[in-house]
């Protein structure tokens, strides 16, 4: 029995390098929860070991030496021991409860006022990400990717356009549900530059499994540059034949700022070329994956709202080329 738990522990140590594991989080929110997590795990394993040992000793002591006859019993001593056991567990419980409340208080609201406010709107199986600003001309929408500056508290306003989803970036903090008709506010702060993985964690229908996103943490300077680049309209030449194909085939559902394509049913594809993944974190953003995705949508992500377009090879090349050039 104990061997089993020991093995389990070693596996989990190896497991915490996994992209979605919160155990090795060091960010302000993620870090404090991780320490609470390790603490309670230690207590749990301890309790299991103690009870396991007690049980085994009880079984060893209880194995019959003579005839197993029913004899009068006096339970005063065992009851006293039970009292001791319950007292100890109550102490551990209250300790953990207090530790929890302290942690919750520390991570519920961000200590410093959030420098950046981002709306994340969940919908059936992708994420609309809207960067807010007091100056309307600096607000823009992107999809399936969150880019934030390092060491800066970022306020995330969560809502949903259809069913309940849940916004979760394990290494940066706890999950928060996205409920239609409600706006839940949570906050993130990253302490290390790099890429973090996020995942929808509330069952939301057919493609709940493939509804992921990534969070790219940059230095403040890189972030400002990225943001100004995102504000630029698509640098596409008016007469570009690829734009004509894109307009005909994709403009009804997708938006590319700076072109007459204005559909909001699907993700905003402005500056698509600068994104790491496509189809809500499902495939790395390479031209081959994009071409495969466009023409066999329902095979890759059955049930996704994007229908199979069955375009000609030339049209697929046009659209893929055009989108990848939108840096």
């Amino acid at each position: 029995m104990k061997r089993l738990i020991a093995i389990g522990l070693t596996i989990s140590l190896a497991g915490c390098s996994a992209p979605l594991s919160y155990l090795d989080a060091t960010s302000p929110v993620g870090g404090s929860i991780a320490s609470l997590g390790w603490g309670l795990t230690a207590i749990s394993v301890g309790v299991c070991l103690i009870v396991g040992v007690l049980l085994l000793v009880a079984i060893w002591r209880g194995s019959p030496r003579g005839a197993a006859t029913v004899v009068p019993v006096n339970d005063r001593a065992p009851i006293r021991w039970i009292g001791v056991g319950v007292a100890i567990s109550t102490v551990f419980l209250l300790g953990s409860a207090i530790w929890t409340l302290v942690t919750v208080h520390s991570i519920a609201g961000s200590p410093r006022p959030a420098a950046l406010s981002i709306d994340v709107i969940g919908q059936e199986w992708w994420w609309a990400v809207k960067y807010r600003s007091d100056d309307p001309s600096r607000e823009f929408t992107t999809a399936n990717q969150l880019v934030i500056p390092v060491d800066v508290p970022v306020q995330i306003n969560l809502t949903s356009r259809d069913v309940i989803h849940s916004f979760w970036v394990p290494k940066l903090g706890g999950k928060m549900d996205m409920i239609p008709s409600r706006t839940n506010v949570t906050w993130l702060e990253a302490d290390k530059i790099g890429d973090y993985r996020g995942q929808c964690s509330e069952f939301c229908g057919l493609q709940h499994a493939n509804m992921a996103f990534n969070v790219r943490v940059m230095s403040q300077a890189d972030f400002d540059a990225w943001r100004n680049q995102q504000l630029q309209p698509a640098a596409s030449v008016a007469g570009d034949p690829r734009l004509r194909t894109f307009m005909v085939r994709c403009a009804a559902c997708h938006t590319v700022r700076g072109t007459p394509a204005g559909g909001i049913l699907g993700p905003d594809l402005s500056h698509f070329g600068s994104r790491e993944t496509l189809a809500a974190g499902l495939l790395p953003n390479t031209p081959e994956n994009l071409a495969r995705w466009i023409n066999n949508t329902q095979t890759i992500k059955p049930g996704a709202k994007m229908p199979e377009l069955h375009m000609l090879a030339s049209e697929t090349a046009d659209v893929t080329g055009y989108l990848e050039d939108l840096k």
Binding site: S137, C253, G262
Partner: protein, 619 residues
């Protein structure tokens, strides 16, 4: 300037049977030696001969005042139908006929056919007919019915906009096309219903398509050749909006560079609408034209944070260069489709004792503005009807204060927002009477329940996203409209005639203190300008959304003409009982119905069969 329930409540209402209007309650005694309420005067430049009617508003200042006085309050009771002319189309008839010399000219809604009627002969007798032949694709792009709001006569030519974005000039004598200019593409969702305005040798035309996410503009064409001189957009960088250093808006929040871009999310201004489909007015002395711009696109405010300049605004521009002198935005960040296109009536009046050169503008957001037309300063801003979207007006900044409870959010239904999208007054033009100093305007008395839906921009399809139902302010059987007398100097309503149906027709005033207007359930009425007493009424064949005119016929008789033919925004009342079907007919009235009658040779005489048999029937 109190908002709150309109004077309507104060009026003693005698609930007459459905058709007869209630007797209007007048504030003062009915003596005719009364002095002007507002002391306002107008310069009737551009009006043509006294008996003629050469442009929609009759003059540059948009007063719609006729100096004729043959028909007076005493003999108006004997007004009778002289003749009618049916133009055979079904779309709403919003325009007014023009009378030049002995000829009346009439243009129909789609397919925009122009007719010339010889008034010297028994009317109607067609002199010539011009087929404009616009493309039918434009019907599906016209948001509010395939209409035309009128046209203009100048320099021997008739100039009007066709629905499919062509402006055409027709020779008034021969009916032949002089020139035709394509202004925009129907596939972009653009249509043109605006009444072309001629002044200073130039034709000013604007587009419509606020609901289709177009990029609104007003353009000037050369009167002789139809060549485009300049084009000013409502949204976009200063170069598109034709703003330069000479631009001096009165209020600070409208000063700054490229506000047509900065007050929009990035690139959203491109589909930001701001079309100008209303009437244009012109001040000859200061050589300035005044016109308004429509609502921002899309109608869902969440999709376009910021003030969304220069939508729902008014511009004063130099007619030669098109450069803007000043601009004022009536409804910053409009959330209910309150266009700012309504006309500016240019009047000079004393404000708090000082004589000011002003323009009066009844906006779709229920504020009636009296603005200094040289600087753009708001002098008076009062609610001329019931509204609940704004809790007040900040005279210091010139901005209305919005009631947050009425701000729509996608997917959430708001039960009652007043006024509705078409305002308590839509495009229907008012009239000014110099004698009383009042403005007479057709208004509504309705509200709407509103649900916003976020919407995609797909070229050529509607980019609005508002789902709404309209209803009367006073519950299910309440009145939907009325005719209002307004004192622009003090921002006060003098009297109002409540009507069962919306009053969406144009209004005209005459030197004999008469006011003519029509209701959308077909009543054409003459009213005493002072007291608001209804002197004469006649029910016509369809709802009236046209603009009446009065002219002197070749027989030296004064005629009053109006085109009936319901359509346009009036169709929101389609489901109400008592609403008349469509069908466009021009009605002309005169005292006792006297008009030029035919000499006897035109009347055929009966032939008995015996005479017929004698001549062999070998025809």
């Amino acid at each position: 300037m109190n908002s709150g329930t309109s004077g309507f409540l104060l009026a003693a209402i005698l609930l007459a049977p459905l058709s007869a209007p209630a007797l209007a309650q007048s504030a003062q005694a009915t003596s005719t030696t009364q002095s002007s309420y507002s002391g306002a005067t107008a310069d009737f430049a551009g009006a043509g001969q006294a008996g003629e009617w050469t442009s929609q508003a009759r003059d540059y200042a948009n007063t719609r005042y006729s100096p004729l006085d043959q028909i007076t309050p005493t003999n108006v009771g004997r007004l009778k139908l002289a003749w009618t002319f049916s133009d055979g189309t079904q779309y709403g008839h919003e325009g007014a006929p023009l009378v030049v010399g002995d000829t009346m000219y009439l243009v129909t809604p789609f397919p925009n056919t122009a007719y010339a009627l010889d008034l010297s002969k028994p009317s109607p007798s067609i002199k010539w007919k011009f087929e404009a032949d616009p493309s039918p694709q434009s019907i599906g792009k016209a948001c509010c019915d395939a209409v035309i709001r009128g046209w203009a006569y100048a320099d021997g030519k008739l100039i009007y906009n066709m629905l499919d974005d062509h402006t055409v000039a027709v020779d008034a004598n021969t009916g032949k096309q002089v020139w035709r200019t394509e202004m925009d593409k129907v596939s972009h969702g653009v249509t043109m219903t605006q009444s072309a305005f001629v002044a200073d040798g130039k034709v000013f035309v604007g587009n419509s398509g606020g609901e289709m996410g177009v990029n609104g503009w007003l353009a000037a064409l050369d009167l002789g050749t139809g060549k485009e001189l300049w084009r000013a957009h409502a949204v976009g960088p200063d170069s598109d909006v034709r703003i330069d250093a000479t631009f001096k808006p009165f209020y600070d929040w409208m000063k700054g560079k490229d506000l047509g871009v900065k007050t929009w999310p990035p690139n959203a201004w491109n589909t930001g609408a701001g079309a100008s489909w209303g009437f244009v007015s012109y001040d000859e002395k200061t050589k300035t034209i005044f016109y308004g711009t429509s609502n921002p696109g899309p109608r869902v405010p969440v999709q376009r944070p910021g003030d969304n300049l220069w939508t729902s605004s008014m511009f004063a521009r130099d007619p030669d260069t098109g450069m803007a002198k000043w601009g004022y935005q009536f409804t910053p960040h409009d959330q209910w489709d309150y266009d700012g296109v309504n006309e500016a009536v240019l009047l000079d009046m004393p404000i708090e004792g000082k004589m000011r050169q002003t323009l009066v503008h009844f906006d779709r957001n229920t504020y009636a503005y009296t603005i200094d037309r040289n600087t753009g300063e708001v002098l008076v801003a009062g609610n001329f009807a019931y509204q609940n979207w704004s809790t007040g007006f900040d005279m210091k900044t010139g901005r209305p204060i919005v009631d947050p409870a009425r701000e729509p959010k996608p997917g959430v239904k708001i039960d009652k927002v007043c006024p509705p999208d078409i305002g308590q007054k839509d495009w229907e033009p008012p009239a000014f009477s110099p004698a009383t100093g009042l403005l007479y305007v057709g208004v509504f008395n309705i509200c709407m329940s509103l649900t916003d839906h976020e919407v995609s921009y797909i070229a050529g399809t509607p980019y609005d996203g508002m789902e709404m139902q309209r209803f009367s302010v006073d519950g299910s059987d309440g009145n939907w409209g009325g005719l209002l007398a307004w004192d622009p100097a003090h921002g006060k309503k003098i009297w109002e005639i409540p009507e069962k149906f919306m009053v969406m027709s144009g209004v005209i005033t005459t030197a004999s203190n008469l006011v003519f207007y029509g209701t959308t359930d077909g009543w054409f009425r003459a009213v005493d300008a002072w007291t608001g007493k209804v002197l004469w009424s006649q029910k016509l064949g369809s709802g009236i959304i046209g603009q009446p005119i009065t002219y002197m016929g070749p027989d030296q008789r004064q005629y009053v003409a109006v085109a009936a033919g319901v359509g346009g925004a009036a169709m929101v009342q389609q489901a109400r009982d008592g609403f008349l079907p469509r069908g466009n007919t021009l009605y002309v009235f005169s005292i006792n119905g006297d008009t030029i009658t035919a000499p006897n040779e035109d009347t055929p005489s009966a032939v008995s069969p015996s005479e017929a048999s004698s001549s062999p029937s070998q025809q």
